[in-house]
Structures are given as C-alpha cells and as structure tokens.
C-alpha cells in the first residue's frame, strides 16, 4: 500500500492569495511529481524532482513553484492565485531503485479560486 498524502483535499480561496499545497510520502522515494488535472481530462506534468534540492519543470507550463528540502516532502506554491489555477493537483512518487517505473499517487487537492 502506497503512503503518499496531500493536504488540503479541498481548498476554496480568493484571487490574489498565496497558497501552498502539501505533499508527503513515507516510502523513501527519491522521485516526486506534481500533475495538474482538469475535470474529466488527462494529467499534465507540471513539476518533478529527482531528489533533495532537485526540481525541474514539466511538460505543461505552470506559474506554481516547488521545493524539495527533504526527501519526503514536495510542496507546491502559488504566490498569487487566479481563477485560471482552478484545477485538481495530484502528487506522485516513484522509486528508481526497483526498476518498476510505476508512480504512486496521492488523493489530490481540488483547488477552486474565486
């Protein structure tokens, strides 16, 4: 059973506010990912990390930023939320050592910016 957690699960916030979406995993995985998913749509990779102090932008351009100070923690921050940021954000992690290549997903944060 994968242990990856995201908080909050739901967030409604006004335009211009700064928000941080939390993601933590207890599996010791080096690699972590953030995806953005609009309702009924595919997942788009927006950020990933190979390990501590490593962050990279994904395929879909995003105004959000990420940090990776600890292996288990990969928060995503929006400095000034806008209605266009309304979406579901999914965090995932994977273990490079096993060669299995699958990613384990958290339950997601559904963000609504009013």
């Amino acid at each position: 059973e994968a242990d990856i957690y995201q908080t909050p699960r739901y967030l409604v916030i006004g335009t211009g506010k700064k928000i941080t979406l939390e993601c933590s995993q207890t599996m010791g995985h080096d690699k972590m990912y953030w995806y953005q998913q609009d309702p009924g749509m595919e997942l788009h990779l927006i950020h990933y990390s190979y390990g501590v102090n490593s962050t990279e932008k994904g395929d879909l351009s995003s105004e959000s930023t990420v940090s990776r100070i600890r292996t288990e923690h990969f928060p995503l921050t929006l400095e000034s939320a806008r209605p266009s940021h309304t979406s579901q954000y999914l965090c995932a992690s994977s273990d490079a050592g096993t060669g299995a290549y699958e990613q384990y997903f958290g339950p997601g944060t559904r963000l609504t910016v009013t």
Binding site: I4, E42, L45, L90, E102, Q103
Partner: protein
C-alpha cells in the same frame, strides 16, 4: 517523442457484460505500459503494468491487458463488470531506461456501468 491515445472517451456498459478499453501508443523505443484507475475525487491507483515477458498481464479487480507490439496497443479487458468499476481509466507509457520514470498519460476513458 511518445504519445498515448485512448480511443474512447466514454464507454457505457451494462453490469455483468464484458468490456474492452482501448489504448494505442507511439514510441521509437521499448516502453513500459501501465493502466491506472481513478475513482471520483481520488488519486490514481495502479491496475496493472507490462514490463517484459508474457504479453497478457493480469491486474487487480479482475482486469487484464494484452500487450501487442506489432499493433502498438495495450487494451484493457474485463469479462464481467460491476457497478463499482465505474471510474476513469488512464493508460500510460514510461520511457525505458529513463532514470526519471517519466510517464505519458492518455486522455482517459470513462467507464460507466449501468444496472
């Protein structure tokens, strides 16, 4: 570059009927293939994966998929669906020998099981 195409955006089916969700991929190199399921308001859960070996892969909840290299397909099947199988299903491909374990997802297929 890789791409994944799920040919049906929605598949309605009656309970206890068989179902096939279609997935085709394009890649110039060998790949690993995955099917994930997403229930409403939840994250993705791995159903099954193809890494190597037998082309018929069995997963959880009675699902199976068949890897067909010549047709570049990885269709998901279940012989008899339940109401609880109603969910969104995503096919994904991972690049071989990519230390980043990057996945490319298809657009998803919504399976709607009717009583």
């Amino acid at each position: 570059a890789q791409s994944v195409t799920q040919l049906d955006s929605q598949v309605p089916v009656f309970e206890e009927a068989p179902v096939e969700l279609r997935c085709n991929y394009s890649s110039s190199v060998s790949v690993y293939l995955f099917w994930y399921v997403q229930y409403p308001n939840q994250g993705l859960q791995l159903l099954l994966k193809y890494l190597s070996g037998s082309t018929l892969v069995k997963g959880i909840n009675g699902f199976e998929a068949e890897f067909n290299k010549s047709q570049t397909s990885f269709h998901l099947r279940k012989p008899s669906v339940h109401i609880s199988d109603t969910a969104e299903y995503f096919c994904a491909v991972s690049r071989l020998n990519n230390a980043g374990n990057m996945l490319t997802f298809g657009g998803g297929t919504r399976l709607m099981v009717k009583p």
